[in-house]
């Protein structure tokens, strides 16, 4: 189902081939309680997510905490086994692979984590951290060439190759994130999943890392799945953007479609809540303030999951779940999961 809607859109830039196809991905975590640890329910972290990732593009995934965006990243890496669904990488069904075949597949999909303070082993030198992927994949770079390659990678991410024997604590947050990126690049992947890669960094340093990710993408034709809660950063880096709410994609489209012509009420509220660094817009911007909190993913509302906080909600919203299908946004159409989808400029 996810194939046709995207084909219908008018692409802003020529799309390459699909590298990653995600079909109806589901991840439920059991909730255990009582003396016998019986399963009493499920946290529905991902509840049917489908999209395609094209070669060399950046797909931004935004949403608030608890919407399942990090679970998505971990499941795409197969750090978590999905409850249901299928991910196809270059025509290979990822979850059907075992042992050596899975290891070979992992080479092509790498991840950069949020917290540069906990995702690097403090007892290993930077050279060992970046070189570790070669232990598992010695055919990429043999033992003899490893040091040279690690130095190359350090240079590539803007670190001094002389620092190869230093430990993570000797680097600042931004530099550590560069180390994480170098490790992600080590095996020449085709796809990098970036899970909140700049959230822990100061703004002046954040820009450096965002620019670095852009440069690397142009140089190596990488495709990124860029997971973040900062909508400004996502707009800056992404070609396409998906908005998640309670384990589902509620809107998916080109960067311009999502930011300039959002049709889902949640996207509109989310965008209007982001403060813009321009005091002259204070009065001009209309802020849609949502009431209440995100419902528990263990017991999501029936029908449309956003209806409990939505100002447009009607009878049908509690009965029928709106599918993520192309809906008109004024100038073209893009995927939106709302019965009453309607474009609204929020700036």
């Amino acid at each position: 189902m996810s194939a046709e809607p995207i084909a219908n859109q008018t692409p802003t830039k020529a799309r390459g081939e699909v590298v990653l196809e995600v079909e109806d991905l589901v991840k439920h975590y059991p909730i255990k309680a009582g003396v016998f640890r019986r399963t009493v329910g499920h946290v529905k972290a991902l509840d049917g997510v489908s999209f395609q990732l094209y070669k060399g593009e950046t797909l931004g995934i935004v949403g608030e905490s608890g919407c399942g965006k990090s679970t998505l990243g971990r499941t795409l890496m197969r750090l978590e086994e999905p409850t249901a669904g299928k991910v196809t990488f270059d025509g290979i069904d990822m979850y059907a692979q075992k042992g050596g075949a899975m290891r070979r597949l992992r080479r092509d999909i790498q991840i950069v984590f949020q917290d540069p303070y906990t995702s690097l082993n403090p007892r290993m030198t930077v050279g060992d951290i970046i070189g570790e992927p070669f232990d598992i994949h010695p055919d990429v770079v043999g033992k003899s060439g490893r040091k040279v390659r690690v130095r190359e990678l350090l240079d590539l991410v803007g670190l001094n190759p002389e620092h190869i024997n230093r430990y993570p604590h000797q680097f600042s947050g931004g530099q550590r994130q560069r180390i994480g990126i170098a490790r992600g690049l080590a095996l020449n992947p085709k796809v990098i999943i970036c899970d909140e890669p700049v959230s822990a960094l100061d703004v002046s340093v954040q820009a450096q890392v965002v620019n670095l990710l852009g440069e690397l993408q142009r140089e190596f034709g990488l495709a990124y799945v860029f997971i973040a809660h900062d909508l400004s950063v996502v707009r800056h880096i992404s070609d396409r953007v998906g908005v998640m709410y309670l384990g589902k994609l509620v809107e998916l489209g080109d960067e311009a479609q999502i930011y300039a012509r959002p049709t889902h009420p949640y996207t509109q509220a989310l965008l209007s809540a982001v403060p813009v660094p321009d005091p002259t817009l204070r009065e001009a911007r209309e802020q849609i303030v949502l009431t209440g909190d995100v419902p528990s993913p263990a017991n999501p509302p029936s029908g449309c999951r956003f209806r409990t906080r939505c100002w447009k909600a009607q009878e049908i919203c509690s009965v029928e779940e709106p599918p993520l299908i192309p809906r008109p946004d004024g100038t073209s159409e893009h995927d939106s999961a709302c019965h009453f989808a309607e474009p609204k400029a929020v700036f």
Binding site: E64, S65, S172, G174, Q175, D202, V203, S204, V205, Q206, A207, Q208, V210, N211, G214, H229, L231, S232, V233, R235, H236, I237, E255, A256, Y259, A269, L270, L271, A273, V274, P275, V276, P277, D278, P279, T280, L281, R282, Q287, V289, L290, T291, D293, F347
Partner: protein, 355 residues
């Protein structure tokens, strides 16, 4: 049903502190250092600013710029050792509170100057019900009896829009969501109707939709009570939304102080300029972000000369050799600490970085 606050015996409010000409707070040439094993970290190096009634001052800076330490110094909650206030005055309604006894400081902390912390979960006590923690303010500072104090707590929880306040007054902090916990902390902070409220990154840990709710609530309360608000944050968006004036900090110094509209229109300090250019905008799609090169300095080894010179695109020899430039007036009602502030302001500063 909660009784009206007027009916409760909450004890008298101290009349001792009265601002003159609306001036609440004067921080004058403040110095703070932390004596650690790795050397002396000079966290604050001569910070001065003032706050009037109903005014919102944003202290803007990155991690390690000294913005939170400034707040802790005003509140008198710097851990000592290792932290020491080595110079300067903090005057509240004309009195230097740094010279007061701990007992008198305690009478100011809460009823006069109050603070909201970033992380509500660790700021609230996990083993006491939230209502009890709010009521504590009345019991301790006003000697209110338990039931009246608890009624006042319910009223406050209502005021900060916690649904079902009466039922939830006995709940514990972990039973609330992040946004609700932040509301409870706000209730504690405003309980005694303080004249100055310091909010240290009040929404950094929250999602944007919740952030909008909390900032809206703070703004409302400020207008209602004519509080002076010091907003400490690194978020240029939040500042643009709520602040009247900005103090921009770098390496323990204020490098620019200006009205919010002036500063966003055109910063007079190269750091402010770099900061504004380095943030992606939600309402525009840019190409390359213009990042500030390098890193903020280690506070135990602040570079000689202007602390920003190794990262500055306009740095010249004078910036590396001369002592740090003092804050000076560069336009009406705005001061900046840069040798070339006028040029930066006019957009005529000469770039010296090779690119």
């Amino acid at each position: 049903m909660a009784r009206a606050v007027e009916e409760l015996e909450l004890g008298p409010r101290s009349e001792q502190w009265q601002p003159t000409d609306g001036r609440l707070l004067d921080v004058d040439d403040l110095f703070v250092e932390f004596r650690t094993r790795d050397g002396v970290a000079r966290a604050i190096n001569g910070v001065s600013f003032s706050l009037d009634e109903g005014d919102t001052l944003a202290i803007l800076g990155e991690s390690g710029s000294g913005k939170s330490v400034t707040a802790q110094a005003i509140m008198g909650i710097i851990d000592s050792p290792p932290g020491f206030i080595t110079g300067g005055e903090i005057r509240y309604c004309g009195t230097d509170i740094l010279t007061l006894s701990e007992e008198k400081r305690r009478a100011i902390r809460g009823p006069e100057i109050s603070m909201i912390f970033q992380d509500a979960l660790s700021a609230l006590n996990p083993v006491f019900p939230v209502g009890w923690q709010i009521a504590e303010m009345f019991r301790i500072h006003r000697g209110t009896n338990k039931s009246d104090a608890l009624d006042a707590a319910v009223t406050l929880m209502d005021r900060v829009s916690i649904p079902g306040a009466r039922q939830r007054v006995k709940s514990f902090p972990h039973q609330f969501s992040g946004g609700m916990r932040q509301r409870i902390m706000i209730a504690v902070a405003i309980a005694l109707d303080p004249a100055v409220l310091i909010a240290d990154e009040p929404t950094t840990a929250l999602d944007v939709t919740v952030q909008a709710q909390i900032m809206g609530l703070l703004k409302e309360l400020q207008e209602e009570r004519k509080m002076g608000l010091i907003l400490i944050t690194h978020d240029l968006g939040v500042v643009a939304d709520v602040a009247d004036r900005i103090a921009l900090m770098y390496a323990g110094r204020i490098v620019e102080r200006a009205g919010v509209f002036d500063l966003y229109r055109r910063p007079a300090h190269p750091y402010g300029e770099g900061l504004l250019e380095s943030i992606p905008r939600l309402d525009q799609k840019g190409e390359e972000l213009s990042a500030i090169k390098g890193l903020p300095p280690n506070l135990t080894r602040i570079p000689p000369g202007c602390p920003f010179n190794p990262r500055c695109r306009y740095a010249q020899d004078v910036c590396r050799v001369d002592p740090p430039p003092p804050l000076r007036e560069v336009a009406p009602d705005r001061v900046a600490a840069c040798h070339f502030a006028e040029d930066v302001l006019a957009g005529e500063a000469v770039r010296t970085d090779v690119r």
